[in-house]
Amino acid sequence: MKVSGGANVATNGPASSGSASPSWASRAGPTNRRHVVVRAGTLALRFERRALIVGAVLMTAAAAVAAAALMIGDYPLTPAQALGSLFGFGDDPLARYFVQNQRAPRVVAAAAVGAALGMSGCVFQSISDNPLGSPDVIGFTTGAATGALAQIIVFDAGPAAISGGAVAGGFAAATAVYLLAWRRGLAGFRLVLVGVGVAALLQACNALLIVRASLTAAQTAAVWLAGSLNATTWTEASLVTVALAVLGPAALTLSRPLGTLMMGDDLAAGLGVRVERRRLELVAVGVALVCVAVAAAGPVAFVALAAPQLAKRLTRTAGTGMASAGSMGALLVLAADLVAQRIFAPTQLPVGVVTGSLGGVYLIWLLAREWRRNPA
């Protein structure tokens, strides 16, 4: 007769280890306080309490920044005016124009681009188990830029074609990196090293394209390359929002197997994860997220790198922290874009300049901190 392992563990377990019983009772408290389980019928979702709180705080902060972005500008509005104009109330046509056609699409795009970048960064940093394994370091963003630059400079194309070029370029770069790094599976460090190499190559390619461009095309290219939301309309905003509505849930769904992959391929496979298939899906979703973001706003620097890391430090989660990475990304881009608009007003900076300089400071701090902790 076969005895099922399950029954054994459950019945024999507590009795067999004498020292366990007392600590067990005292442990039930703290355990239950760290997690929240939501049950409804057959549904049982489990969240880390701290991650829930951090997520709520981040989203509230993002909403506050978004509200501020609707009010602040050369035509300042009170909260009531801004809200009224947003939903078509109020009798100030100018306010309605600014809020509905200029500020709102920009805010929506900023939030969606930020969330997409944050989640994409989370996917790749988790896959590679390396903070540097984010799409802006391993060539995906650079590849998207190459695609867009080719459209701007070689084909003199319009915005839609530029976005299409960015998506195509990003996917091409990702495919190249994936295939070059794949050797009986995908190892994190190979992904990062190959990605950095491909990024350098594409960077050179981008520089070459710009050098050979006409002056006007080079100017357009430079603005695009900085990553900007300055000319965002509802077209871009709705495209990136719709894409996020599809890709975001996909990324959240995949974050469960992703958390298992972080413990090594053998262990994940032993737990019943289809390792290579799930990883391919994750790469596809992650690349799509970053490509959509780049197509909408250009390569906004450092958000994909910093957002998941910042979120992880706040939530202290051992999971992937996909949702909090997305919320953090949204908050970062919203805030950075507000700064970019106002800091030298009326001159508007590209948002990428702000995230780039903030991200640079963050990266230096991160590296210095890691080095101090374990001097190598």
Binding site: K2, V9, A10, S16, D266, L271, G272, V273
Partner: protein
Amino acid sequence: MTRLSAKKPEPGPGGGRPDLAQQATGPSPASERAARLRGSGLAVGYGDRIVIESLNVSIPTGELTVIVGPNACGKSTLLRALARMLPARAGLVELDGQPIGSYPPKDVARRLGLLPQSPVAPDGITVEDLVARGRYPHQGLLRQWSKADQEAVDAALARAGVADLAPRMAGELSGGQRQRVWLAMALAQQTPILLLDEPTTYLDIAHQVEVLSLARGLRRDGYTVVVVMHELALAFRYATHLIVMAAGSIVAQGAVSDVVTEDLIESVYGLPCRLIEDPVTGRPIVVPLEEFPDAPAQDDAA
């Protein structure tokens, strides 16, 4: 002496561990029960390198099978092939009478658990959360945490003797503690078959004994346990079924007392040796014969 008798129920050192004394009291012969896990005509390798070629193996149900053999003989490769981590180039792994590939992966993961050689604990994970990861095959996207999950985790923590470590960070544990935590994770998976790939490597002897006696306790409770390891004295001591491998094939298998001979050890490891009897268990201990220039030449005459 070429063969050692294994039956010697020892009283054991006074006040010592009671489980040591019980150890040699015989399990039922391995061949009598149908094997739930078997491989036939297996060929496995990495890239161009074939490690195992046409190997047949069946893992006796309800036994503590220990696989030993020299470095690079294919022990771990065999284990990984049996756990479908490595695809078989040829041949078939069967689990409960069906090709292992015909099951959905989570279904396999509810029957067969594998603790790999170097699992990675995610940064900042608590012991309890790490053990809870073992519940993955029992969960789904919309069914993330049931009462059974919590009970299995608590029971596994207690069983592996790490309940008091539950709130600690996995990263700050000692090697012995960490290995028991990983074992707890494998136990939380609640699989009747458990494959452990070198669970004792890098542990000091006390922790090796701890891990192996846990494995033996599991076997006694009806688990089928397979352990790959190097330390022969402990392997012989704990195995109820021994598989000896060399150069990608199985050269001997069966009860330790039937299998282990000086000739076998010499032919497998290329090491001339003498077998002596473990004074506690009566199981064999390998004593290498080697020219020691400084040693007093007392034991030369064979």
